[in-house]
Structure formats: structure tokens, C-alpha cells
């Protein structure tokens, strides 16, 4: 019965979405206040109905209602409650319902918080959101109905893929989707602005916090996914340039560009049509990401849900959204009048550089991701583009961006004196040189390219700290500095730490594979690892073999590692649970494999600075959240504040 309620609610939501896409647009064109006002209740109604539908599906999982096809094929009565709940979105149908839920949630937030927007403009924004909702709800109801009944009902569920039974992954999709879908708000604002023919500082002040929200969630989502791959897949890697990863990385790159270009629109009334274009592209990449993951057109190490027939629907929808919005852009971008002037050496100039590099980077990722597809279509050959391509392209592209990141906060708007700015950055340059010297001394004979990474990372941190110190000296007290300033500094320091972490974990990674008998020892970096014992053990729904390994630093035991090899019953599957512990140098990572020749195959990694990656990504997200909490950008804060002289 609950399932039928959920199904009905979904169908009603579609009806409201169709009305919500048409009536407000009609009202805006005819300047009919009644139709314009209809946008708000229609939007909120969609959210309530999709929420009911989502709760109905969740309930089916909680009570293990195996008469529903999705529940039967993805859940099991003996699964822990957390994974029953995360199972709701751990499959194609449920994850799309989550998409729709988040989409209508954001639209309802815009409806509720957007009271200070011009009514006609808000109606158009909400209509665009409803249009996207129509696409997704249709897709759900026509091709991926989560409420499809099984007849006769299954006696027991088939269980959730054990690799997905993990707290890191339980929350990875919701964060990723909050990011993807968050860009729909910026997209809707861009479309409405094109229709109205107006982009100004107030528009940017509205778009910025929404973009920031989406960006923060996407950053967390990508970091969670990467963390999951790192400790759950047992390969010791954190990023594989896999199509699914690229699918989330492309909107992130464009979203980061959008975040920065919207600043120029707000402060200087320039780069308007470019910013509108970026908003369109960011959401297009979100849709493309959904398409790539959901259709399985590209081979990927973790394509969990693949169905080409559904891909055709999303592809059509994608073509409609991207084609339609770009056509509208081509027709209407001329109406956006260009604004403030600036010299190439200026804050605006630096932000233009940021945008050009990030957009180019997104384009190269797109090309690398789609290249195998193009290759197949045009030559019939099958192939993949792996990390070598992305490294070859990314390192030279990103290096100038990272160098400029250190300089940009010192530059004035409109025109800046590069010489005097550089003279203030000598400390950062010294920090970078010292970092090179220390790294070269510690890792003598290691890859030379790693020293570049170290220099760039140290340079960014040094420059951002210098900037922060000089602002504090001018501003007097710590609390006087606007939160957005703290946010920017934290995020930029995060980038520096992230670059150092990536450099350390990839360039200085050590690994060793041996067959170890009980009592055997292995040396990795400064540590000695001894296999003390191997014992059988069991969990709620699996049995396992557990290794006991003592790690010593110069004969002094420092920690014990317990890697496991688990065997699940439903579905039948073996997973490796790596034991990972941070040390002063970096992570020690141990995996135990199958029994062989009287011992166990054991793989050990030493990953220097690995956890700096998570710290860096965390700081970036925290920086975004800090900026968001700044009074000036708070969602719904009064749009105009006269004479708000801002620092810089």
C-alpha cells in the first residue's frame, strides 16, 4: 500500500512539474501576477510529493518489502539498518529518486528564500527548475520506476553489493548529488537572466551562495568517493581517472571557475555573459555525469548500474537541455551589456586566467573521457585513456594556475603593480625554495617532477599566509576580517596541502608484495612489518580471515595492523579490507590476500603525505562553508548594501 502511495505521489509530482514549467513562464510573458504567483506553491508541492514518494520507498527498505523489485534485488533482511537505508539510493532507480528529491528540495528553497527576488524573475527561475524536474520524473516513471511490484514477491532479497556496504559510500552519492543538482540553481538563474536580458551585481550575489553550496557538497562528495576507493578497493590508489570519477570532476572544475567569475560580476560588473555560459556548462556537465554513470556507455572500473536503453533517454534529455540553453544563450547573450574595464595585470585579470585554465582543464578531461567512445565510433578500435594522458596534460596546465593563486589575492581590482606585489611575496618564494631543498634531501634520487609539486604547494601556502598576515596587520583584530576572507584563505591553503599530499602519495609511494609465513618480516621505508598471526573471524553478514601485523620503527613496536579478507554470503563475494594507519611519514597500508604456498600473499604500501589529501580537501570544503556563512553572501540576505567597502 505504501508503495502505491509513493507511486501516485511521483505521478502527481510530474503533473505539478508540468504545470510549474508552463504557467509561470506564461505568466511572466503576459505579466499576469496570478500565474506568476502560482510558481511558488507548484514548486513546494513538487517537493512535498517527491518527499512522500522517497519516504515510501525508504519504508519499503526498512520493513524489507520484497514485493518491490528494487528492494528484492538490492536489500536483505539481515543487512545492518544503515545499509538498508543507504540501499535506497545504492541502485539506479533509488538514486534517481534521490536526484529528483534534491532537485525539488533546492527549487523549494529558492521559492521560500527568494522573497526579495523580483517576482517575475523568481517565477522564471522556478519554471526552469520545474522543467528539469519534468525530465527526471518522466525518466523515473517511464524507464526506472522504483515502485515496480514483483509477482510473486521474493522470499528473501539478493543483498547489496558488499563493496557498497560502507559508511564512506553510504554518504558519497547524496553529497555528490547535492553538488550536481545544486548547479541546477545557478543554471536556472542563468536561463532566467537570459530571458530577462539582465545580469547585474544583485544577480551575482544571488548566484554565488548557491554555486558555493553546490561546490562545497561536490567537493565533499568527490573526496568521500576518493577516500572510499582508497581504503575499500585495496589497490592503494585514490584517483584512477576513471570515467565515473571524471564525470564528477568536470562539473567541479567548471563550478570552481563559476565560483570565481561570479565574483567579478558582483564586484566589477564584468565577465557577465561568460559567467552565464559557465553556469549553463556546469549544470550540463552534471547532467553529462549522470548520463555517463547511468548509461554505461563507457567502461569504468565502477559502473554499478548500466543500461543503454536508459542512456538514450538521458542523452535525449541532455541534448534538449544543453542544446536549448546554448541556443538561448546564442540568441540573448548580446543583450547583456559589458561592464567594468580592467588591465591584464589586475585581480580581474588573475580571475580570467583562473577561468581560462579551469575551463581548458575541464575540456581536456572531457576529451580524455570521451576519446575511447570517439575512437570506437570512428575507427572501431577499442581503447582506454589512462592516467598517463591526464598527468601529461594536467601538470603543465595546473602549474601556472597554482603559481597565480599565490599572487592573485595581492592584486588590486582594475590595475595592479606586479613589481610591488612580487616584492611582498619574497617570503613565499623562500618557503618554496626551502621546501624544495628539504624534499630533495629527504628523497634524494626520487622523481624530479615531485620537487615541482612540493615547490608549488609550499608557494601557495606561503603566499596565502603572507596575505592573511598583512590583512590582519592592517585590519587590527582577527574577528574584524570578513568570514569570506577566512574562507578564501582556508580553501587556498587547502589547495596547497592537497597538491603536497598528491605529490607525496604518488611520487614517493613505496610498495612491496610478498608471500609471508607467520613470523616473517618485511621492511618498507623506515618500518619493519612482522606477520604475527592469521585468525579466522566473522561479522554480521560475512566471515573473514584476519592478519595480525606488528609494525616496528627501529625495533620499537609502534602499531598493530589488522587487514582482513572478507567473504560475504549474499551476494557471494570476497572483499579485501585494507588496514590503514597514519604515521608521521604517511599512511601504512596493508592488504592480505589468499593463502598460497604455506603463507599469505601480503601487499604493503607506504604512502607519504597521503592523509594531507583528505586534510586539503576538507579545508577547501570548510573554506567554502566559511565564505557561505559570511553575512554578505548569506542566502536571502538583502541584495543591496550601499557603500559596502570590502577589503582588497
Amino acid at each position: 500500500m505504501t508503495a502505491e502511495i509513493g507511486h501516485l505521489a511521483l505521478a502527481l509530482a510530474l503533473a505539478l512539474a508540468i504545470l510549474g514549467a508552463l504557467l509561470p513562464q506564461l505568466g511572466a510573458a503576459r505579466r499576469d501576477p496570478a500565474l506568476i504567483a502560482a510558481a511558488v506553491p507548484l514548486t513546494i508541492g513538487q517537493f512535498v510529493l517527491v518527499l512522500i514518494s522517497f519516504l515510501a520507498l525508504t519504508w519499503a527498505y526498512v520493513v524489507s518489502d520484497f514485493s518491490l523489485a528494487v528492494v528484492a534485488s538490492n536489500s536483505h533482511t539481515e543487512k545492518p539498518m544503515l545499509y538498508k537505508l543507504s540501499g535506497v539510493w545504492g541502485n539506479h532507480e533509488g538514486s534517481l529518486l534521490l536526484w529528483a528529491l534534491i532537485l525539488t528540495f533546492f527549487a523549494a528553497l529558492v521559492a521560500l528564500l527568494g522573497r526579495n527576488l523580483p517576482a517575475r524573475f523568481r517565477a522564471r527561475v522556478l519554471a526552469v527548475e520545474s522543467m528539469i524536474a519534468v525530465g527526471f520524473l518522466l525518466f523515473l516513471l517511464l524507464t526506472s520506476n522504483p515502485f515496480e511490484r514483483l509477482s510473486p514477491p521474493a522470499v528473501e532479497g539478493m543483498g547489496l553489493n558488499p563493496l557498497l556496504q560502507d559508511p564512506g559510500l553510504a554518504f558519497h552519492p547524496p553529497f555528490l548529488y547535492l553538488g550536481y543538482v545544486g548547479f541546477s540553481v545557478a543554471f536556472a538563474f542563468a536561463i532566467a537572466a537570459l530571458q530577462e536580458g539582465r545580469v547585474d551585481a544583485a544577480w551575482a550575489r544571488w548566484v554565488r551562495p548557491w554555486t558555493l553550496v553546490a561546490w562545497v557538497f561536490l567537493t565533499i562528495g568527490i573526496a568521500l568517493g576518493s577516500w572510499w576507493a582508497y581504503y575499500e578497493l585495496g589497490w592503494g590508489g585514490f584517483w584512477f581517472w576513471d570515467p565515473v570519477e571524471n564525470a564528477s570532476f568536470m562539473p567541479w572544475l567548471v563550478g570552481t571557475a563559476l565560483l570565481h567569475s561570479a565574483i567579478v560580476v558582483e564586484k566589477r560588473d564584468a565577465m557577465k555573459s561568460w559567467t552565464v555560459l559557465l553556469a549553463i556548462i556546469a549544470f550540463s556537465f552534471s547532467l553529462l555525469g549522470t548520463f555517463l554513470v547511468r548509461s554505461g556507455v563507457l567502461t569504468s572500473v565502477h559502473a554499478f548500474a548500466t543500461d543503454p536503453a536508459r542512456g538514450v533517454f538521458i542523452l535525449g534529455f541532455l541534448a534538449l537541455v544543453v542544446g536549448g540553453s546554448l541556443t538561448l544563450y546564442a540568441l540573448r547573450a548580446e543583450t547583456l551589456t559589458p561592464g567594468g574595464l580592467f588591465e591584464p595585470i589586475s585581480r580581474e585579470g588573475a580571475l580570467v586566467l583562473n577561468n581560462v585554465v579551469l575551463a581548458t582543464a575541464a575540456a581536456t578531461v572531457l576529451l580524455g573521457t570521451l576519446y575511447p567512445l570517439l575512437l570506437d565510433v570512428f575507427t572501431g578500435a577499442k581503447g582506454t585513456v589512462g592516467p598517463p594522458y591526464f598527468h601529461a596534460v594536467f601538470i603543465p596546465l595546473m602549474t601556472p594556475l597554482f603559481v597565480a593563486l599565490g599572487v592573485a589575492p595581492f592584486l588590486n581590482w582594475k590595475r595592479a603593480d606586479l613589481k610591488s606585489v612580487l616584492s611582498r611575496l619574497w617570503i613565499a618564494a623562500v618557503v618554496a625554495l626551502i621546501a624544495i631543498a628539504v624534499a630533495a634531501y629527504l628523497t634524494w634520487g626520487g622523481p624530479v617532477l615531485a620537487l615541482l609539486g612540493v615547490a608549488v604547494g609550499a608557494w601557495m601556502i606561503g603566499a596565502v599566509v603572507t596575505d592573511l598576515m598583512s590583512r590582519l596587520r592592517q585590519g587590527g583584530r582577527w574577528m574584524r576580517l570578513p568570514r569570506a576572507q577566512w574562507g578564501m584563505s582556508a580553501a587556498h591553503i587547502g589547495v596547497g596541502i592537497l597538491v603536497l599530499g598528491i605529490t607525496g602519495a604518488t611520487a614517493w609511494n613505496r610498495e612491496s608484495l610478498e608471500v609471508m609465513r607467520i613470523g616473517d618480516s618485511l621492511t618498507i621505508g623506515p618500518y619493519t612489518v612482522r606477520l604475527e598471526n592469521v585468525t579466522p573471524t566473522a561479522g554480521a553478514n560475512y566471515t573473514a580471515v584476519r592478519g595480525v601485523m606488528v609494525v616496528s620503527d627501529k625495533d620499537r613496536p609502534v602499531m598493530t595492523l589488522y587487514p582482513e579478507s572478507r567473504t560475504y554470503a549474499t551476494p557471494p563475494m570476497t572483499t579485501t579490507e585494507a588496514a590503514i594507519r597514519p604515521t608521521a611519514v604517511g599512511d601504512i597500508y596493508a592488504v592480505i590476500g589468499e593463502e598460497s604456498k604455506g603463507g599469505w600473499a601480503v601487499r604493503l604500501y607506504l604512502k607519504p603525505l597521503q592523509y594531507w589529501i583528505w586534510i586539503g580537501a576538507g579545508l577547501m570544503a570548510l573554506g567554502g562553508a566559511l565564505s557561505l556563512s559570511d553575512r554578505r553572501y548569506r542566502i536571502g540576505a538583502p541584495a543591496r548594501r550601499k557603500g559596502a567597502a570590502h577589503a582588497a
Binding site: 523489485a69 534485488s73 514483483l150 553489493n161 563493496l163 585495496g234 554505461g296 567502461t299 572500473v301 565502477h302 559502473a303 554499478f304 548500466t306 559589458p338 574595464l341 580592467f342 588591465e343 591584464p344 580570467v352 586566467l353 581560462v356 585554465v357 581548458t360 575540456a363 581536456t364 576529451l367 580524455g368 576519446y371 575512437l375 578500435a381 577499442k382 581503447g383 582506454t384 585513456v385 589512462g386 598517463p388 594522458y389 601529461a392 596534460v393 603543465p396 596546465l397 608484495l513 610478498e514 608471500v515 551476494p571 557471494p572 563475494m573 570476497t574 572483499t575 579485501t576 592488504v591 590476500g593 598460497s596 604456498k597 603463507g599 600473499a601 601487499r603
Partner: protein, 161 residues
């Protein structure tokens, strides 16, 4: 500022366009250069056998991927305990693969697999990466296509309702 705003705007725009074009040009050059050497082609075993001496492909000199099913009864562990030898088959052809390392959790006889590596001077395929999928009833796409090509496809991925 002797320039009029309109001319200054044009000049600024020109500057931006030149910088953007330069960065884009560098990026395109990088991409083309990187793609030339980094595309890893995929072949089924029978294709590898038939094209071993193809002068245009030069299989001996490049990294490639080979995929198919792990041949039943072919998996053998060598003396050192960490090297595995097995044969990948797509029906008509089978090719021997040697891999040192922990095999993925879903590596099993009769299951789909993709190995990436090079041929050594004795003509053996030395893999440094072996991929099996996360899902027990999932078949790598290239493997499915290769099996369809040789007519040995049994439609395993249609198992789910």
C-alpha cells in the same frame, strides 16, 4: 588614460582573446601529444594472435589491454607464490597471461577479466594490472563485445530481472 573607453575595451578584449587562445593552443598541443602515446588499445585473444605480426600495429612495442574469460582450469600459481599464470579466452583463441600481485576479489575461472600490460621478448603477455568487475554478474563491456564478435556471447548480464 588617453584611450577612449570603447577602444580600451576593444584592446582589453583583444588581450584576453590572445591569452585565452595561447592557453588553448598549448592545451591542444599537449592533448594531441599526450593522446598519441597514451591510448591503450583493447583486443580479444584471437585478435592478438591474428595481428601479432601486423606491422602497422607493432603489438610488441606497445602497452595494450586483453580481455575475455578466464579459461577453466588454466589458473596456475608459480613457485614464488605471488605470480599467477592463466589463459584468457574468447572462444576461438586463447592467450597466456602472467601477473605478479594480488588478483582482484572477483577474479575467478570462467569469469570476465581484463589484463593490461606488454608482450615480453618470448611472446608472453606480462600484465601489471588485472581488472575484474565489482559486481558478480557484470561483464566488462569490451569483453562482452569481443565475445559477441566471436559468437561466444551467452548474455550473462541479462540475468537481473
Amino acid at each position: 588614460m588617453a584611450l577612449s573607453p570603447a577602444r580600451a575595451r576593444k584592446r582589453r578584449r583583444l588581450g584576453v582573446v590572445i591569452i585565452a587562445a595561447a592557453i588553448l593552443g598549448i592545451a591542444v598541443a599537449l592533448v594531441l601529444f599526450a593522446l598519441r602515446d597514451t591510448v591503450v588499445f583493447f583486443f580479444g585473444p584471437s585478435e592478438v594472435i591474428s595481428r601479432l605480426d601486423d606491422p602497422k600495429l607493432r603489438l610488441q612495442e606497445r602497452r595494450f589491454r586483453m580481455g575475455g574469460l578466464v579459461e577453466e582450469g588454466s589458473v596456475r600459481r608459480l613457485e614464488d607464490g605471488k605470480t599467477t599464470e592463466f589463459r584468457i579466452t574468447d572462444g576461438p583463441g586463447a592467450f597466456s597471461v602472467r601477473y605478479t600481485g594480488l588478483l582482484p576479489d572477483l577474479f575467478r575461472e570462467g569469469q570476465g577479466v581484463v589484463a593490461e600490460g606488454r608482450l615480453d621478448d618470448k611472446g608472453r603477455f606480462i600484465a601489471d594490472e588485472v581488472l575484474a568487475k565489482h559486481d558478480e554478474n557484470y561483464m566488462p563491456k569490451e569483453v562482452a563485445d569481443a565475445l559477441k564478435k566471436t559468437g561466444h556471447w551467452q548474455g550473462e548480464s541479462e540475468a537481473k530481472p
